[in-house]
Amino acid sequence: MTGISIRYRAALALARALAWASRHLLHRGGNVIGGAVMLRLAGGGIAAKARRHRITIVTGTNGKSTTTAMITAALRVRGAVDTNADGSNTSHGLAWCVATAKAHEIVLEVDESWLPWAVDTFGPAAAVLLNLTRDQLHRRPEIQPMAAAWRTALQAVPCAVAVAEDPAVVWAAYGARRTEFASTGDGWTSDTVLCPQCGEVLHDRREVWACNCGLTMPAATVEIRDQRIVVDGQDLGIYERLPGHVNVVNAAVALAATRDQVEPTRALAAIAEQVGDVAGRYRDVTVEGRRTRLLLAKNPAGWQAVLGMLREGASILLVFSAEGVDGRDTTWLYDVSFEGLRGRPTAVAGQRGTDLAVRLHLDGIDVGDLHRSVRSALMALPEGEVDVVATYASFQTVRRELHVA
């Protein structure tokens, strides 16, 4: 046994003890303290261990937890896979996942700002890039610098899988040695209107994007045509386990990321069977006659997508906050149209509920009294189906107040 491995094992023993204490005494996840200890005492050992695994990292503004779960489900058709299903997607959580992984295959959800660090530390075999849209504007006010950082980092990655409609992620993906693309089938609707390569205005914006400098929307091996997923020309049918077109896109990207390893028909079946909710998202919970479904939305693109998933006839509970990872800036509410909620019973709660109530008021939606408690807001709605949409910090409050594990 080498000196490095002794140090690594000692660090792991200490980290496990602290993680156990964190879980049992402080009722926390334990992975953050575990990962912090490992990086502090055995960072080199983590990097060396990572290179004995095959790692896929998954990043993007929206959909990374769900797509990580889908890729994991697909790869489990072949064998064991470890993943950070708890959503700890920055350095400590990622390090802990790798340090404790037993399976050869690891799928890591990575916060978009941490992609360069994750590539440098773990040397992944593949990187999956979903999208880049505005999120947490106080921390990441611009998209272009993030795309540039991704592109530079990906030069060390053998394969990048990306969504073809998003020019920023396509350009970043070309940093990798090999690329694979999935198409959403709904044209170019991303935030990006400037060419990430030369800075000029892209043209043909609604269908296929292109720039005079030569950068153009690539052909995809996995496509969505009329809501059906098509892989290499083969129609695999409709995916409808999780609601909304965004989840069909997530499934298509998961198939593009795994098609070299798992036969796509089997992969899609595994995704549909195993990925029913993701850390509480899409979970159904009945509370005093209200059949709630929990939905998470963190930014303009996420809210717009989730508002399109609402069940017909369901009442709506919106829970809004601007704390921690939500970011401090609430102004992006005005980049979301709430007009589709007119006429529906709607209640608002959350630490920044007044911001949201004003936004709805300007779209002609009156929510009545504002609620500090999620439960009281829920009880203000009629019995029956209630779709609950919450920002990240609020989502944890919803889970706590409605006793959702």
Partner: protein, 243 residues
Amino acid sequence: MPDLTVAIVYPELLGLYADRGNAIALRHRAELRGLSCEVRDIHLGEALPEAVDVYIIGGGEDAALGPAIRELRSQRALVGAPDRGAVVLGVCAGFQLLGRRLEAPDGSSVEGLGMLDIESRPLPDRRAVGEIAVQSPLLGELQGFENHRGDALLGEGVTPIGTVEHGVGNGHGNQEGAIDGNVVGTYLHGPALVRNPVFADYVLAGATGAELEPVEDELVERLRAERRAALVHERRGRRRRRW
């Protein structure tokens, strides 16, 4: 034909930071007074129409400044707007583009539209991000959120909107924004007119040429009171941490 037309100029390039909120606020305040209001998006490649009462030029990424100024220079409707009695509201990048000259973070310099007597350059230290409170002799207490890295140097041809009480604003001299008749620039980004109905009414009055009756909006006042209280709480916290 609507009583009022508000144009969001190049929303895909200069409307990335909730700038639609300002148009929504203007429509709301107009409708409270029984005035009909149409909000129009003017996309890249379209000619800017002259039959517009308020032009909103909003925030964009640093990389957008070059393409944006080239497009805007080719549009006569904007430069002639104040003479037609229309209001031009520039926010963040839009504020800078209305100026005489702007310096980009990479050190390059570009000539602006020259509609406001200002020059802008990058803030020397870091990006200004957070709640901002301003006392304005014209508009009273203004509040909002800023997220920019611009420092606006005001010439003699403009007056600042007000004095910064919390936040950064123009970046020096405790000033925020600039006004020259019907041309207004501010760093209060996105829906500044939602949180500041007096500011919205100032723009409406400029565009309609009418004296507007005051209209209370209880929910907006509640939001203003909440954010004012949060700012006081934040300041107290900072003072305690200093001790």
